[in-house]
């Protein structure tokens, strides 16, 4: 029993400091908590980073409506209106990738957070100002994932 508790606490503590994985085109993080709860942490962190949550896509709901079984699968759309306006005016090609979006995917009692790495777009747009913007988005997304993992880690530690 003590061993299990210690294991959980260590896991939670490890998540307090863990960073998200960047595999070039995708930023991903696994969170050891149910997706319904993690989604709330994601939304909170998105807003703490100065973004507005524009809407929530209920992918699982859509599929269920058409008879397809699906686990909890949501997409959080968010952005800053000034940035969206700047991009749509100067780089209309990029509007397909805005607002930014994070997929919140249930895997049993854990959650996978995934987002396209904005820096994957960098090679297509040599413009310096846009490179800075893409880098900032990447940095914010990493920070959001890190915040979520910290919050979940703290929750695991405090619950045990």
């Amino acid at each position: 029993m003590k061993g299990a508790a210690l294991k959980l606490i260590l896991l939670g503590a490890a998540f307090l400091f863990a960073r998200a994985s960047v595999a070039d085109n995708m930023i991903m993080a696994r969170v050891p908590l149910r997706a319904e709860i993690v989604l709330e942490y994601v939304k909170a962190s998105v807003e703490e980073h100065g973004y507005t949550v524009a809407h929530l896509q209920l992918c699982d709901g859509g599929m269920k409506d058409f008879g397809y079984e699906s686990d909890f699968y949501r997409v959080v759309f968010f952005g800053k209106v000034d940035e969206v306006r700047m991009v749509s005016a100067r780089y209309p090609e990029l509007v397909s990738y805005l607002p930014l979006k994070i997929a919140v995917i249930a895997e049993k009692n854990e959650t996978l957070l995934t987002v396209l790495n904005p820096e994957a777009l960098a090679p297509f747009f040599p413009d310096e100002a846009l490179q800075i913007q893409l880098g900032r988005w990447q940095s914010d997304l990493m920070s959001i994932f890190q915040d979520v993992r910290r919050a979940v880690g703290a929750r695991i530690v405090s619950n045990h």
């Binding site: 503590a13 995708m26 686990d71 996978l112 045990h160």
Partner: protein, 350 residues
């Protein structure tokens, strides 16, 4: 009281692991959490990535693991972690060894000499059912996702993959054919095939190195989106796009303005709209192939009226996006879907 002690102990260990000196040796567990756990889960149970079973780790060398992390599996989801240092990759391998309590099998680099032509006949008879005629693995699927159905618990290894072939020496392939892999359902051919037959099979598997990847490279000048000019006004363009989508069997969601939800309803630009659409049958099938698809959902054609009244349509280039997933099966499907999108735009802008 015990819990408090445990709590502070856990925190202290975690804090120490992070706040240790910058020159400290890389921590394999931290690196595993950061780079591997998203796909393989914390204990290696599998997810988008294959399970890192103890029995499987016991079959391979540290060099194989190192090379697999470094090279990935092109087209099979597992990325190539080129940015990690050798010390970091080594730390992850060491962590995997410690966690699984396994010892590596060290294979010699001595090549196996065999008759690849005879090996091909043996392959067709004994291996093709699971590994496929081209060695890419059984049927649809690129890995294991615990929340979705699969024909096999573990996808048979893509033994023609360049990442696999560069990581697995002949002697390892030979041994796996000999003893099988209980962890993944690979049977032992000991006693069923002679030593010479097995050597011939190894030679044939090695010959996959000459096989070209089925996924074509995209042109260097391809852009991540297509931008089309519409000959029609904004409203007509939106209407035409919807009609073309309906004709192509897509379900259309309510319009969504690009700025909607980001500002108040009086400030939102109403001349920038996303027409969002989906074919749930296709989507359901695609999510089995690539569970992370949500990062580009839903399908959307953005119609914008520019200053001066020019109307443009912005459509994601599926050929470019699909390649970001390192998933050949998705690429094949999306290359075909790209044609559908092109037809829709053609019809809408006639």
């Amino acid at each position: 009281m015990n819990l408090i002690r445990l709590l502070s102990g856990g925190l202290a260990i975690a804090a120490f692991s992070v706040l240790g000196t910058a020159n400290a040796a890389p921590d394999g567990r931290e690196l595993y959490i950061e780079h591997c756990s998203a796909c393989h889960q914390m204990e290696g149970q599998s997810g988008i990535g294959l399970p890192l079973l103890n029995a499987k780790l016991a079959d391979v060398s540290d060099n194989y693991l190192h090379s697999t992390i470094r090279l990935g599996r092109p087209g099979r989801v597992m990325p190539a972690f080129q940015r990690l240092s050798d010390a970091q990759v080594g730390a992850i391998v060491k962590f995997l060894r410690q966690r699984s309590e396994t010892k590596e099998i060290v294979y010699s680099d001595e090549p196996v000499a065999g008759d690849a032509a005879h090996g091909q006949a043996l392959y067709a008879e004994n291996c093709v059912k699971c590994h496929g005629a081209d060695g890419t693995g059984e049927g649809p699927g690129t890995g294991v996702t615990t929340s979705r159905e699969r024909t096999f618990l573990v996808m048979p290894a893509s033994i023609s993959n360049t990442g696999f072939l560069a990581s697995a020496p002949d002697q390892m392939i030979r041994r796996v054919i000999h003893v099988g892999r209980k962890s993944s359902g690979m049977p032992s051919f000991d006693g069923k095939l002679s030593e010479t037959d097995i050597d011939d099979l190894v030679a044939y598997v090695r010959s996959f190195e000459q096989q070209e990847r089925s996924v074509a490279e995209i042109d260097a000048d391809e852009r991540p989106t297509h931008v089309f000019e519409s000959p029609h006004d904004f409203e007509t363009t939106v209407k035409n796009v919807k009609a073309a989508l309906t004709g192509a069997n897509f379900r259309i969601f309510p319009d969504r303005l690009l700025e909607q939800g980001l500002t108040d309803e009086f400030s939102v630009n109403t001349r920038q709209v996303g027409v969002r659409f989906c074919n749930f049958n296709v989507l359901y099938g695609m999510l089995k192939i690539e569970p992370r698809l949500g990062v580009v959902l839903p399908c959307r054609i953005t119609i914008m009226e520019r200053e001066g009244g020019e109307v443009i349509l912005v459509v994601p280039n599926l050929r470019v996006i699909s390649r970001w997933f390192n998933n050949d099966e998705l690429v094949g499907l999306w290359d075909r879907m790209e044609e559908t999108f092109t037809n829709i735009i053609d019809e809408a802008t006639l």
